[in-house]
């Protein structure tokens, strides 16, 4: 048998390596071209690359976040920005989830009026740019509020004014340690109740909610202890000569950014929630009811586990969007990491290094968020047999 060898130019292995080699060669050539240009441009403008400038004095103030003096370094300024970003993302995700849940359920309500209001909210918000909304909340709502002296007082010691939002701040009173002991006792009792309920349910071969029982016991004990001991005191904001003193003060920038992000992301999450609930076939609910499960257990044992499976992946990407969209703080002047880095670039001229830092920061935030959500997704996802 004449063993005709495949010629080199038709050998699949050679072709593969050739294609990849060519690809890498092109990449290297482009990178090299960029690098040479960079060297020439840097030499011409006299900029030196490197992260040494992070140690030098910033010379500008940051109005919010961890304490910061103009004499502190650029590196510290950037860190303050990171903390501010994380603050917005953390609170924003929590509130947006709640709003989205309410919006999604409202859009499926049996009440026609509620359904229409929810649809109008979702469609308007989803179809206009976030930055327009943020700017609207900031300039047309929060900055148009009355002056500090004429603040709007909401029930519960909350004040709304041009200077933002002033809330009562909780702080531990003297009896707080005593209450802590009560809490520990409550937790132990709750654990006992939980185990007892689980055991008796297992013995009776029934399903129930031992977790709810335990939670009930714990809340009762905690509330009773709290009612008697008064462990948390509230520092109510008081109108001083120029501004509110004491309490917890949110700047109009932070309030507008948080409000805008929550309203925007909430509308998207509402659609995710709606799709998730609709994805559970009606027959599932009907079958569960036919088996005699009470409505609360139908929701907890049948509908929710199946809906979550559909909800969690798109919910993750909404959380990631919120995290990335927090960079629009620059439109309202909230000192988040992008905004602070922008100031640093304007002052120091180190654009390349700062952009690298910004991207790495956002990438790590994104990666951490998606790692957490993927872990959660694995817990709720369908286990195939």
């Amino acid at each position: 048998m004449a063993s005709a060898r495949t010629p080199l130019w038709r050998d699949i292995r050679v072709l593969r390596w050739g294609a990849q080699g060519l690809f890498v060669l092109i990449l290297v050539l482009i990178a090299n071209w960029f690098y040479t240009n960079l060297q020439i441009n840097l030499a011409r403008t006299g900029i030196r690359l490197g992260f040494d400038f992070l140690g030098s004095t910033a010379g500008f103030g940051i109005a919010e976040g961890p304490p910061f003096q103009p004499t502190d370094s650029y590196g510290r300024a950037f860190w303050v920005g990171v903390v501010n970003t994380l603050r917005v993302i953390g609170i924003g995700i929590l509130l947006a989830t709640v709003l989205g849940l309410v919006g999604g359920i409202a859009r499926l309500s049996s009440n026609w009026l509620v359904r229409q209001i929810a649809s109008v909210y979702i469609e308007t918000i989803r179809n206009t740019p976030l930055v327009v909304q943020l700017f609207f909340w900031y300039t047309a709502v929060f900055l148009k509020l009355p002056r500090v002296a004429e603040s709007i007082e909401l029930p519960g010691g909350i004040y709304l004014s041009q200077r933002g939002l002033a809330l009562p701040r909780p702080y531990p009173a003297e009896s707080f340690t005593l209450w802590g002991i009560v809490l520990i006792v409550g937790a132990v009792c709750a654990l006992g109740v939980y185990l007892w309920r689980r055991l008796s349910l297992a013995r009776a071969q029934r399903v129930g909610s031992p977790g709810l029982w335990a939670l009930g016991v714990f809340t009762t004990i905690a509330a009773l202890g709290g009612g008697v001991l008064r462990p948390i005191a509230w520092e109510v904001p008081v109108l001083g000569t120029f501004n509110f003193e004491g309490g917890w003060q949110l700047s109009p920038e932070f309030a507008a950014l948080l409000f805008g992000l929550v309203v925007y992301t909430g509308a998207f999450i509402a659609e995710v929630v709606r799709a998730g609930i609709l994805s559970v076939p009606k027959g599932q609910t009907e079958a569960a009811r036919a088996l005699g499960l009470p409505p609360i257990l139908v929701l907890r044992l049948v509908v929710l586990p199946q809906a979550l499976r559909v909800i969690v992946p798109p919910l993750t990407s909404q959380y990631l969007n919120l995290a990335k969209n927090s960079s629009l703080a620059v439109a309202v002047g909230y000192p988040d990491l992008f905004n602070v880095a922008n100031t640093i670039i304007n002052q120091s001229g180190h654009a390349l290094e700062m952009i690298l830092l910004i991207m790495v920061s956002y990438l790590s935030i994104s990666l951490m968020t998606s790692a957490f959500m993927n872990w959660y997704n694995r817990r709720v996802r369908l286990v195939e047999r």
Binding site: N111, N127, A140, L328, I355, S366
Partner: protein, 409 residues
Amino acid sequence: MRKISRWVRENLFSSWYNTLLTAASLWLLWVVFSGLFQWAVRDAVWSGGSAACQQARQLAQSEGRPWGACWAIIPANIKLLMAGTYPPGELWRLWVSVYLAALLLGASAGVWKGLLRETAIAIGAGAVVLALLPWSTAERLWIGGIALALFVPMAIFWKARLFRAIRWAVGVGWLLLPVIVLVLISGFSPWLPRVETTQWGGLMLTVILAVVGIVASFPLGVLLALGRQSELPLIRWFSILYIEVVRGVPLVTVIFMASLVLPLFLPGNLRIDQALRAMVAFTLFTAAYIAENVRGGLQAIPRGQIEAARALGLHGWLITLFIVLPQALRAVIPANVGQFISLFKDTSLVFVAALLDLFNMGRSILANPDWLGFDGEMLLFIAFVYFICTYSMAHLSHRLERILGVGER
């Protein structure tokens, strides 16, 4: 009557908590709309420039009652909002561009039935309604004429739709349109004076950025999607790295990078202006998202298709080109329309590159002392324009999804 009362009972008062919800909703609507009506309609100033608005506001302030909206800010600045600082003498070029697109859409609506025709009719009707607003006579003619530009070719090509060549011509027309429009708008020596991109602005810039972004990012996105599926590890890793990095950072940072850092990487004599840098940023950013959409389409193709193609003797690139891609791209059309919608909204982020699109033109008008303090009116108008555009596109994409039968097979 009985029908109505039954509907009300079933949809608003079916149980005690529904009755409660209805009452709460009615209260909410009353609070919002009574305030809104007073501000936006009853006490509003509709025309007369900034002087009329300031006067009305001062009067209301001195009488101690809430003042109304100043809608006069819109007609006074409509040219800036639509076309930016484009030279007034050259505005006809923008009109010609709009008319070219309208003629082409009308022709397509004649040749192909269905959704295209409905779109053309809807846009034509919109143009007629728009022309009824208080414009100058010339503007009114320009706007109303769009309806004619849509309906006349629709009628002509309806007769000619049977000729294959006509269909090809219309298709080629769509491919050429962006190029012709860009050349027309930016001008070419010596016949048309050049208009620098610094003079582009308003809604026109928004549309240009979005269209260029989506058109340019599409091929790149398809290549990245194919690269991510590739059997060659180096190409696959590169594609994955690119897609994940771009998707993990906010768009503003990409625009920021393109506007600040990109010039550092280019030779000193190659100067590219801010608009082009923004286009580069949108292209690089959107390509990663398109790639993920296309990947979804690629994965939706049954293995049998590829095996059948192989059995017929096709291989490698031919399978990708003739069997896989046509089906995959068809399946991801709605997703890509969605991508275009979000790109359209995201063009408002060009403030980091100091460009004046619709939103940022509005912001710069608000910084003018004449119009200080009328933020709400301007921003609501801008939001309304965005809403009309994106909502109709979303509706279109939804219809398209049903026609293509995506997700039903």
